[in-house]
Amino acid sequence: MFGAMLGEAWHAMGANRLRTFLTMLGMIIGVSAVVLMMAIGQGAQESVKQSINAMGSNLFIVLAGSRTASGARLGGGNAASLTVQDGEAITMLEGVKAVAPVSFGNAQVIFGANNWATSIIGTTPDYLDVRAWSLKDGYSFSDSDIRSATRVALIGRTVVDNLFGDTDPVGKTIRIKQAPFVVLGVLESKGQSLDGRDQDDTIIVPLTSAQRKLFGAQFPDSVRMLMVQGESPEAMAMAENGMTSLLRQRHKLRDGDEDDFFIRNLTAAAESAAETTRTMSLLLGAIASVSLLVGGIGIMNIMLVSVTERTREIGIRMAIGARERDIMQQFLLEAIMISVAGCLIGLLLGIGGALLVNLLTGAAVVISSNAVATAFAVAAAVGIFFGFYPARKAARMNPIEALRYQ
């Protein structure tokens, strides 16, 4: 029974090929637009997510407060208020996973005949975990290097390229501000940060070595910045409150005194970028969906014409024993076939278009099976929804009037 109906629907579609194709075109354009927009939108989301992951997840930075020297306010991070001990205390807080004290500056680096100005980060071994940074080559320094302020360094990809060229840097000695440092390892490439800085143009050395041999410190153990990693996105608010009260307490600030430090939630900034792309892709999807709707209306229009044209055929079928249900099924099946066929072609075009966009512009595209399944389900639903009224109109015809129809 169903096989016969499928055959009939196929025949009916083939009877007027151009019209069937034009009807399908609405669905084709709609589905391919949805698939293409979703692929581009999800691609954008994916690349933002990658940048966030590269930065490290659930991150805070705690900056020392500003200092005023000779009437000039020097900006955040210059006061000597933040210490390594503050960092150790924060590690104990609930909701905090790890803390890395950071002191940084710029320096000229020399290897052999080459030299290069880059940023130097003095920190503890936890820093690599907090930033979700791994080594490509060699190994990291340890806590004992911190204690004895050994002159060892981990260097970023860009520094390797500029100082070493093809030479293997591990084990070689470079000079940072004239002080010799042995290269222990090479950092994995991290690419650009969200604001476009080259994260690979950097050298990481033990905190103590940086303070004693490179930049000096106003007081022993004072740092410019603490990088703090929260346990989870949910624990971020709790960790922030805990840090604020702990630091106020440790810095002996009275009620009414201003904080002598700044806490920045890096994840929040990144998440707002993610939110923007999510909104964008939703918007694109919504606009594309409108064309699906228009395609559906096109199907309904043609089905109504088809029912009127085939009134006599409906009468014949009823006269030889077709039930209302049979007529209904026949026209509904036809509508669904048109929309599903349109959907299939649209899927191919959409996916092809997305790959083409990727090829031509290099923009990331993600074709998820989820998006494909959704587009398919929507197409079938559109077929049923917009096919229903014409099919019911056909099924409700009076057989004798349908037979008399010229």
Binding site: M1, G321, D326
Partner: protein, 240 residues
């Protein structure tokens, strides 16, 4: 003869018009037994086609009772009516009413689709009937490739496929020449020999002469009902 396959009592049918209800059938009473071969005659507008549509469960009477095969038709819902049109009745139309996009075999087999028969059986039975109506060589031809007489044969084969007990033919030879008409009438006679009840609407006396009973309509009433040999002359009918 056995119990009546059709019994119609006080049947009336009004058409709604702008000027109010217009009566087409007025208190029609008739009873037809299984195995009969009846010709329904009358000038156009006499109500014979309307009567035929009601017999075929395509139209509903305004009042009166129609009992088909012991079932009062008024009590059946649309699905049951569809089943009767499918299983009990075979319809043959003046205009053949074949599906133009389907080939001959599929046209004949179409009622079996609605009876839920599977494809293999459908084709077997359609092939047998195609042979029977003398077109066994052209199963894949389309209706527009054959003559009117051949199309009507296909329509008859379609009417027969569910082995109905009753064939209703509305002016089956109206669009055919006299030679072809004779062939078709011979086919009906054969079917009647096999025990199928046949009711045929016509306004041609020589076509009606094949039937064994003639019922004549005039202005919505039956004015004559007698075995074919006692058919009245045209003048007699008009004065009746």
């Amino acid at each position: 003869m056995s119990s009546p396959i059709i019994r119609v009592t006080d049947l009336c049918k009004d058409y709604e018009t702008a000027l109010g209800p217009f009566p087409v059938l007025k208190n029609v009473n008739v009873s037809i037994s299984a195995g009969e071969y009846v010709a329904i005659m009358g000038p156009s507008g006499s109500g014979k086609s309307t009567f035929m549509n009601i017999l075929g469960c395509l139209d509903k009477p305004t009042s009166g009772e129609y009992v088909l095969d012991c079932h009062p038709v008024a009590e059946l819902d649309s699905n049951q009516l569809a089943q009767i049109r499918n299983q009990t009745i075979g319809f043959v139309f003046q205009g053949f009413n074949l599906l133009t996009r389907s080939n001959l075999l599929d046209n004949i087999a179409l009622p079996l689709v609605y009876a839920g028969t599977d494809k293999k059986v459908r084709h077997e039975r359609a092939r047998v009937l195609l042979e029977k109506v003398g077109l066994g060589k052209y199963p894949a031809s389309m209706p527009n490739q054959i003559s009117g007489g051949q199309q009507q044969r296909i329509a008859i084969a379609r009417a027969l496929i569910n082995r109905p007990r009753l064939i209703l033919a509305d002016e089956p030879t109206g669009n055919l020449d006299s030679k072809t008409s004779e062939d078709i009438m011979r086919l009906f006679a054969e079917l009647n020999e096999e025990g199928i009840t046949i009711i045929i609407v016509t306004h041609e006396a020589d076509i009606a002469s094949h039937a064994r009973r003639q019922v004549r309509f005039l202005d919505g009433r039956i004015v004559h009902d007698a075995p074919a040999t006692e058919a009245p002359s045209r003048a007699e009918a008009e004065t009746a």
